[in-house]
């Protein structure tokens, strides 16, 4: 085991220890592991399962069920674009199409994900960039936002 891996193991153990007294701690543990690492690795699944005395399948099943939890490291920025009805009525389909097309570029630094409502419906179309919610969006604005976050390389 390399030094890095030992460090990871200790960190995951301390996260588990912090939450284990809570009723139903797994989701909170997974959130915190992902917050630190950006994703939940196969090794992390094994360590969490071992600590909580669950099977790997039980932990892995939770990771795969929830859209927020990821098994691969994401791009540096996270853009959630609302695809739901209230934003559709205000032009959201075009915002989503623009964002999705730009994210297809392998050099794009922004992870683009659909979201089904951000609760920003009265000022839609809505997007959320790295936890910052933005309203009254247009294809032009989303294009500039993604290009800006990608260092202008994918305008």
């Amino acid at each position: 085991m390399s030094k890095d891996e030992t460090g990871d193991a200790l960190e995951i153990e301390s996260i588990c220890a912090r939450h284990e007294q809570r009723e139903g701690p797994l989701l909170a543990i997974l959130h915190e592991v992902q917050e630190g690492h950006g994703y939940i690795s196969n090794e992390a699944v094994g360590r969490i399962a071992h600590y909580l005395n669950l099977t790997r399948a039980e932990v892995y099943g939770v990771v795969t069920f929830y859209p927020d939890l990821r098994e691969e490291p994401p791009r540096p920025h996270m853009l959630k674009v609302c695809r739901a009805e209230a934003c559709q009525a205000a032009g959201g389909r075009e915002v989503w199409a623009t964002a999705e097309a730009m994210a297809a570029d392998p050099d794009c630094q922004v992870e683009v994900e659909p979201v089904y409502c951000l609760g920003n419906c009265p000022c839609g179309p809505a997007v959320q960039m790295d936890e910052r919610t933005l309203g009254r969006f247009t294809p032009e604005k989303v294009s500039a936002l993604i290009a800006g976050a990608s260092g202008g390389s994918s305008s």
Binding site: G24, Y66, P67, E85, E131
Partner: protein, 510 residues
């Protein structure tokens, strides 16, 4: 000079922070108080200044407007083009009656002194002097029904948990407000989070629970911060902890964050998720009131439901039961959005018509075109045509007209909407968010999209329309929960009210 600027995430999403910064930059003598939003979103970012006991509003304001607006703010000039006058008077003129959102947009969220000065903890203090059964009775008498969508009488649910013998018992707040077109829960949590905590504490006293959980969706990071701030404030001031307001009775609350699954707004799925599992729905019975969180008796109520409880206790059941129509008592927090000129939150007694909401309050479509279809009650709610605009906004009355009030979300579409595309989207959404436990939902939602494609491609059209109807029937009758059981409603309503949109598309090509 004291000036209020919202810190509500929607107001911030369109520049409220920049407005607040511009105010203090232009005049360092100004104290900016950050409040929630009044819900007048077409006027956001809105700035309010207190004058002679009134709050005079100006909006929509941009940071660039501030230098020109300062004189008006200082003098209370109501002649300024952005002035909307006394904000309370404006709400009243719309027919609003704020029971649930009475402090939202008024107080600084989570600030204890502000909360108490505006009626906070009055309901809880009364509850502490009452027998648990009397609290349950007060909620029953108020006629309060679950505002999350199902409309189940809250007092009956509390009675079941009150009567259950197993311990410990739990209060779970469903703050997984996932329906498109709904934002009332978010507004309350961001604008008056202590009201939710107080409502949950009263529920705990009523049923004998000492632990509450708020299951909050991850899409609401600002609401999370506000709730944590309010929890700290409530603990510091003794509203939560070992002795609620010095009563010797314990109650505490923890916030848990979801992970992006819409289905976790369904109460049994929410409980699974809260236990740290996949959010798969459970069979009912047993009801969560009997076997809920960790198989213990659990009250599961929505944010608005719990947020209304303190007012009912503080002012008596009658303040709530005297409003509304027939079996729909109290106020509905109507969330008006989509393609509408004046989107916002309108808290109004049950019974106003859909047409009044869209045309009179909302001012019709933002695009200036005529409205054509309105989806009420979230993504599982039916699309209502203009011909049904005379339907009163009340549970049973709306149901009879083929719709569902749900959480009170109203999404307006103008006449450019393609209803076959909306019907297809309803099934696409159903398939994406299905927990996968039952076949009608998991498979039916996918097959349904294919059938709609065949209809619009003119492939054996009549037979496929019949098949689509049959499939919808199977999903309604055979699904385990409302997700698959109601997703057909937007589809069938589109098919029934807008059959022209399901005509073949291929002929339009050159």
């Amino acid at each position: 000079m004291n000036v209020c600027v919202p810190c509500d995430s929607t107001a911030v999403s369109i520049g409220a922070d920049e407005v607040a910064d511009a105010l203090t930059r232009n005049d360092p003598a100004i104290t900016v108080k950050r409040t929630g939003s009044r819900g007048l979103y077409w006027l956001e970012p809105m700035v309010e200044v207190e004058r002679d006991g009134q709050r005079i509003g100006y909006g929509p304001v941009t940071a660039g407007d501030i230098p020109g607006l300062l004189d008006a703010l200082r003098s209370g000039d109501t002649g300024h083009p952005l002035c909307v006058g006394d904000v309370e008077a404006l709400l009243e003129s719309q027919g609003q009656r704020r029971l649930t959102l009475r402090r939202t947009g008024v107080v600084a969220p989570g600030e204890w002194a502000d909360y108490v000065a505006n009626g906070g903890t009055e309901g809880l203090r009364k509850a502490l002097d009452m027998e648990p059964q009397s609290i349950v009775d007060a909620v029953k008498e108020s006629g309060l029904r679950g505002r999350g969508g199902a409309g189940f009488p809250t007092g009956i649910k509390w009675q079941t948990v009150h009567d259950a013998e197993a311990t410990p018992k739990y209060i779970v707040c469903n703050a997984d407000e996932g329906d498109s077109g709904t934002f009332a829960d978010r507004m309350l949590m961001e604008g008056d989070p202590l009201a939710l905590l107080e409502g949950m504490t009263i529920a705990g006293l009523a049923v004998g629970a000492e632990q509450g959980y708020i299951y909050l969706r991850s899409e609401y990071p600002d609401a999370h911060r506000m709730l944590e701030r309010a929890l700290e404030s409530a603990r510091t001031n003794g509203m939560l902890g070992d002795s609620v307001l010095g009563s010797g009775r314990a109650f505490d609350i923890e916030v848990r964050i979801g992970a992006g699954a819409y289905i976790c707004g369904e109460e049994t799925s929410l409980l699974e998720s809260l236990e740290g599992k996949r959010g798969m729905i459970r069979f009912k019975p047993p009801l969560p009131a009997i076997q809920g969180f960790l198989s213990r008796p659990t009250v599961v109520n929505n944010v608005i439901t719990l947020g209304t409880v303190p007012t009912i206790l503080a002012e008596g059941a009658e303040v709530h039961s005297s409003l509304g129509m027939n079996k729909s008592r109290g106020t509905l927090t109507i969330q008006l959005c989509g393609n509408v000129a004046r989107p916002g939150l309108y808290e109004i007694p049950f019974g106003v018509t859909l047409g009044h909401v869209i045309n009179d309050l909302g001012g019709g479509c933002a695009s200036g075109r005529p409205p054509r279809a309105v989806q009420v009650g979230g993504p599982l709610g039916a699309y209502m045509p203009v011909e049904r605009f005379d339907t009163p906004m009340a549970y049973e009355e709306f149901g009879e007209a083929g719709g569902m009030i749900g959480h009170g979300g109203v999404v307006v579409f103008d006449d450019t909407v393609d209803m076959a595309a909306q019907a297809r989207f309803a099934l696409e959404f159903c398939s994406i968010e299905s927990c996968g436990k039952c076949t009608p939902c998991r498979i039916g939602s996918v097959r349904g999209q294919e059938v709609i494609d065949r209809i619009t491609d003119d492939d054996d059209r009549e037979a496929n329309i019949a098949l689509l109807r049959e499939l919808c029937e199977t999903m309604i009758e055979g699904s385990l929960c409302a997700h698959g059981g109601m997703a057909p409603y937007p589809v069938l309503s589109a098919l029934n009210h807008f059959p022209d949109d399901f005509e073949p598309r291929t002929t339009a090509a050159v």
